[in-house]
Amino acid sequence: MTSLSVALLVPWVAGAVLVPLDGRRRWVAWLAVAALAGTLAALVVLTVRVVASGPQQLVTGGWPAGIGIVLRADALGVTFALVSVVVLIAATANEAILGPRARTFPALLVLLAAGLTGLFLTGDVFNFYVFFEIAMTASYALTAYGGEARQLRAALVFAGVNLLGSFIFLMSVAGLYHVTGALAMADVADRMSAVGANAGLLIAVGFFVAFSVKLGLFPFHYWLPTVYAGSRPAVAAVLSGAVANIGGYGLLRFGAGVFSDQLRLASTALVVLGATSIIYGGVLAASRGDTAEMLAYSAIGQVGYVLVALGVGGAVGLAAAVLYSVVNALNKALLFLAAGLRGRLLAGAFVLGALSVAGVPPALGYIGKLELFRTAVVAGSAALVVLLLAGSALSLVYMFQTYQRNFWRDDGSGKTSSPVANRLVVAALALLVLAVGLWPEPLLALSQHAVEALSGRQG
């Protein structure tokens, strides 16, 4: 209980303290890193408790449950919160070493962490919307970081499209309250079975559109390349490694936790959309010359795997979806950060990230792909296995095209390399990807717990 409130309060208080400080001073940025590290420590304690003794619940203000807002930490929430905070720490440390160029940058990152941990640890639908808007508002401002024309354009596109997504989400919340008369996720899930099929499907589609926009799935991806390629590497890492988790978490939490009937009904559509996303993202990524754009299209392809796993469903499919969301967040953060720097160690880090995206052992992505293959085999679909193989082959092609362009070609400019500390941050992230790939049991167990938490809520 205490670790739950500490995990939520630390980034809040730290964010409020950091806002008036001048973020261009390095010590302020390091303060932000320390605050995020504190959040991570609280989350680790919380995770240990959740795994040992089940979901932790807290009702704000000491109200009885049903009146107060329920904060609830289960394995699914803490998994996503942990990954997001790790990515945020890496990105903040990266900019802290270079020296942030905007007053508000460290404070915005910490407030983003506050919004993200809040939405991953809430048990209330409307509270989810509030935290979601806090996180999104912080990320709109973050996208403009750098202040160049292309960053402004990226911020404008990002804010415009995602605000539309947010309001669709809000309308779906209104519909959900109308049909169930409840806002606590557990009550909503209980009462969904009594709701008419048409109303339920309509609301479920609203939620699906809202989260797909965040995630950048195929028909809703159009904003993503401009934004990821336009923003600075650290911001792109945050957007793809932390903010995009909202979409994956939302699809799992609402799709599998609340709309399980609708999910079963729409499973074929989801698998087809996911497959389109994989192929589209892969083909376009292979055709891009610019590293950041390649990574952006690769992100569209990678979230397709999550959707395919979600569409197949069942214990195996959901576990694969959780696992692959985590894998993808770490991969993208590593690759965006590695592509923004140059010098020794980085080629190795990039290769690890590339192998992880393609799903080659010993990197973490292998575990993710393995679970996906298990999903496809359980579903008994040869087409899915072929699709996964084709997707992996495509990602191997575009990743190593880019590797060749960036690290084999000597551009002859004789540029000096990035600070050692920066490269060490990226190397640490790469080592994390390698280490979890070599010893995946904790992550596998956590995703198993997450699925149990989801299906427990279903019943």
């Binding site: 270079l98 409307f126 919307y129 509030v130 808007e133 508002t137 709109y140 401002a141 403009a144 750098g146 202040g147 160049e148 024309a149 292309r150 402004l152 354009r153 911020a155 404008l156 804010a159 415009g160 605000l163 539309l164 947010s166 309001f167 809000l170 309308m171 919340v173 209104a174 519909g175 309250y177 109308h178 806002l183 600075r232 590497p233 610019d290 950041a292 923004g340 720097l341 140059r342 010098g343 540029k415 000096t416 390399s417 990035s418 920066n422």
Partner: protein
């Protein structure tokens, strides 16, 4: 009553979507503002109940549901904040690009398209 609400939401959302597709950035912001209002009206319409005020109610008579009002207030505040942020962004765009027209922005963008690669290169160089 439900029909009136539905029509209001439809008109708000439709006008918002129309403005969102315009070329002028201020109209785009106006469109997003209208859509946020459409969401607020949906929230009210989806859950409005008649009854006495829920403060110290008389238990024999029906009480109106206070939750949607709290939700709408929160949503309005959030909508206002995001609107302010968007306007600040558009202001930055006006300062940098000296236009609020999207096609001028795109033209600028095409000019910058070949400048993009060196610019990104410079970002990477800054990191060295």
């Amino acid at each position: 009553m439900i029909l009136a609400f539905a029509l209001a939401v439809a008109v708000l959302f439709g006008s918002g979507a129309y403005l969102l597709l315009q070329r002028d950035l201020l109209r785009v912001v106006g469109g997003i503002a209208l859509i946020s209002q459409a969401a607020a009206v949906t929230l009210i319409a989806a859950s409005l109940t008649r009854g006495q005020a829920p403060i110290a109610p008389d238990p024999s008579r029906p009480v109106s549901d206070p939750v949607p009002q709290a939700l709408v207030l929160t949503a309005l505040v959030i909508g206002l904040a995001t609107l302010a942020l968007l306007l600040a962004l558009v202001h930055r765009v006006v300062v940098v690009f000296r236009t609020t027209r999207r096609e001028a922005l795109t033209a600028e963008e095409t000019e910058r398209a070949h400048a993009l690669e060196p610019e990104q290169q410079r970002d990477r160089d800054e990191a060295t």
